[in-house]
């Protein structure tokens, strides 16, 4: 039950994280998006604002993010209202999901680390999966409003009411940055400040004598490379998810207009592919963040602290 509360808090935290970024990103992003949309068909690169509350801008991708998050929270609360020893129905579903994720993460990260970080990764997976699939519901992205041309005809609309949440870079970047903050906290907790620096810059392996001094220089250079690669992780995480989901939405739109008269038929196989992509990308996002956490939190020297069913191969890096 405690895990579940943590999970709910996590969902809330992540769902509301894009708020600041969306408001900030809008100022530069929106005008470019409008200009671009005027000349070319297809889905605009940026989420469009649907409402403004003073300095805060509510974009169409935030609408769907919050709707999904609220549905998840209500669904979980309803399912766990009267908990039974032998689960049934909705409770069974949520227990299956949470237990499956727990097993999966435990297998990758080891039981201790998985228990500590489960709330974050399970939340990420469930939220990303739910928002990806919610973006595929017919009507998302195709219901909205537009402006008539000079003759009073509507050709295509300019603002959609809903937009796939992860087809907005603000959302994916917010999730990666939240992960990055958690990653730093977990790394400091696992290694301590000195150990954290040593983990990145310190020499690995057991060389002695003059070779050891050479190794220190080599691993200092390796540490610089590692810092660059770590700093690039939020960028690659956010662009990977955004790119996949945005490209998927664009592809569905293209397929619907490819052959006149068959717009209802051609996108159907691609809908199934997008279901798969949404699942795989949620898995990838969780897996990558989990592996990054494992890499920094695992200890090379203290073999006594390794979990019983340890993963020898993953400890060398």
């Amino acid at each position: 039950m405690r895990t579940f509360l943590l999970f709910l808090v996590g969902v809330l935290g992540i769902a509301f994280a894009p708020l600041a970024f969306a408001a900030e990103g809008h100022a530069v992003a929106a005008p470019a998006g409008h200009a671009e949309h005027a000349e070319k068909e297809g889905i605009p690169l940026y989420a469009a604002p649907v409402a403004k509350f003073g300095p805060l801008v509510l974009t169409n991708s935030m609408v769907i993010t919050w709707a999904v998050a609220i549905l998840l929270i209500i669904g979980a609360q309803l399912a766990m209202r009267n908990v039974r020893m032998v689960p049934q129905g909705a409770q069974n579903f949520w227990e299956w999901l949470v237990e499956g994720l727990d097993d999966f993460l435990g297998g990758i990260m080891g039981a201790d680390l998985a228990r500590k970080t489960f709330w974050f990764f399970a939340t990420l997976f469930i939220l990303v999966l739910a928002t990806n699939w919610a973006g595929l519901i017919p009507g998302v992205g195709s219901i909205g409003w537009g402006h008539p041309d000079e003759n009073g005809h509507f050709h295509h609309f300019t603002t959609s009411l809903l937009r796939g949440a992860n087809a907005d870079l603000n959302m994916t970047l917010a999730m990666s940055l939240v992960f990055f903050a958690c990653w730093i906290v977990w790394a400091l907790q696992a290694n301590g400040p000195g150990g954290f620096v040593m983990h990145i810059f310190g020499p690995k392996g057991d060389t002695t004598g003059i070779m050891k001094w050479g190794m220190i220089v080599v691993f200092l250079a390796v540490g610089v490379l590692e810092v660059v690669s770590i700093a690039f992780r939020p960028v690659s995480l956010s662009f990977r998810l955004y790119g996949n989901i945005f490209a998927g939405e664009n592809m569905l739109e293209t397929m619907a207009t490819l052959v006149p008269g068959f717009g209802w038929l051609i996108p159907i196989p691609f809908y199934f592919m997008e279901l798969l992509v949404g699942m795989v990308q949620a898995l990838v996002f969780m897996l990558l963040t989990a592996v990054f956490t494992l890499l920094i939190c695992s200890h090379d020297e203290e073999h006594a602290h390794e979990p019983a069913h340890g993963h020898a191969g993953e400890h060398k890096h």
Binding site: F239, R240, G243, L287, V291
Partner: protein
Amino acid sequence: MLIPMLAELTGNVHVAAAAAGAAIGVGMIGMRASEAVGRNPGAATKILVQAILSTAFAEGIVFFAIFLVK
């Protein structure tokens, strides 16, 4: 014949190159992963994790090419 054709190429050639490379990479990962599962079906889950991670890294290049290279 080939050289003038190549010289006429315009557009986002870097995206095409990245997509081709990523496709080759993803294909090779899939091939080896299937082989590995065939040899050791018991390790299917572990292989899936490795394969998905490598696939994600391979296809990430395309998104760098699309969004970051100008």
